[in-house]
């Protein structure tokens, strides 16, 4: 190949790369609301969530070549985000892991407790649900221990599949399922505890 032909090929390649990069950045930015929604519940404060999301996008834009086009970009971004969150020393501030069943109850426990407080005989489920305030739900979720909350937030808030959650957190899919199951029970127990008796 002559020198001019090869430099023409180089500039075509560079132009293509620039277009790919722009497209990548646009697609990633379109997902930022969804990424933020998950991030906000993985950490304790709005400031931490802002920092974490910003760092995630900085890193994602630096390492955009590692993303395989056509794969789940939202999961790829969340993988970066959860790794950064762990790097931030989250593990040190984790709530002590309770292995007892003190913070769990059966799946019907919350409903039974709420229903008993609604004055009507045989109330409809919406009336029962209205016993829970938005703040009480936010607090109850924040009190779920990290390992369970991560899975709960990814699957139930972020609407990721078990397989995506497993990949994001780098844990087996069976662990995702068992943590999700327990995490939901802990959340419901916390919600029930937050309701005045």
């Amino acid at each position: 190949m002559s020198e001019s032909a090869s430099s023409a090929a180089d500039s075509r390649r560079l132009a293509q790369e620039a277009r790919d990069r722009v497209r990548f950045e646009e697609e990633a930015l379109e997902l930022s609301d969804q990424v933020y929604r998950v991030a906000r519940r993985l950490v304790g404060s709005r400031e931490e969530a802002d920092d974490l999301v910003q760092q995630t996008y900085e890193r994602a834009f630096r390492s955009w070549r590692q993303y395989t086009p056509g794969t789940n970009l939202r999961a790829w971004l969340l993988r970066i985000l959860t790794n950064l969150n762990i790097d931030r020393g989250r593990r040190q501030q984790r709530t002590p892991q309770t292995t007892s069943l003190d913070n769990e109850a059966g799946d019907y426990f919350l409903y039974n407790k709420l229903e008993s407080q609604v004055p009507d005989e045989n109330p409809d489920e919406e009336r029962v649900l209205e016993r829970l305030s938005q703040d009480s739900i936010v607090d109850a979720l924040a009190e779920v221990p990290h390992d369970f909350r991560d899975v709960l937030v990814l699957v139930d808030i972020g609407e990721f599949s078990y397989a995506d959650a497993a990949q994001i957190l780098d844990i087996p899919i069976g662990t995702v399922m068992s943590r999700l199951h327990r995490g939901r029970r802990i959340l419901k127990k916390n919600l029930a505890d937050g309701v005045p008796a």
Binding site: R37, E125, H181
Partner: protein, 77 residues
């Protein structure tokens, strides 16, 4: 003797997640058709998941959105 309401309580999460076997789904469904008590609790759980998702959803600030947009590579780079 099996307590069907206890069994149904155990099956609730995987049922709603769609991860039960066909035989287990049929078992749960059969009980739910007969037992209004369990059916109400299943319906509540379904609504609760949605309710929680909406309740904890907090939008990002316009400031952060602007910061993220500013991270983009300039077009002439």
């Amino acid at each position: 003797m099996i307590d069907w309401c206890d069994k149904c309580e155990e099956l609730m999460q995987p049922y709603l997640d769609g991860t039960l076997s066909d035989a287990e789904v049929a078992e749960a469904q059969h009980h739910l058709d007969l037992c209004r008590w369990c059916a109400k609790r299943y319906h509540f759980e379904e609504r609760l998941r949605h309710y929680v998702r909406v309740a904890v959803s907090e939008p990002m600030s316009p400031e952060l959105k602007a910061k993220l947009a500013a991270l983009r590579t300039p077009l002439d780079a």
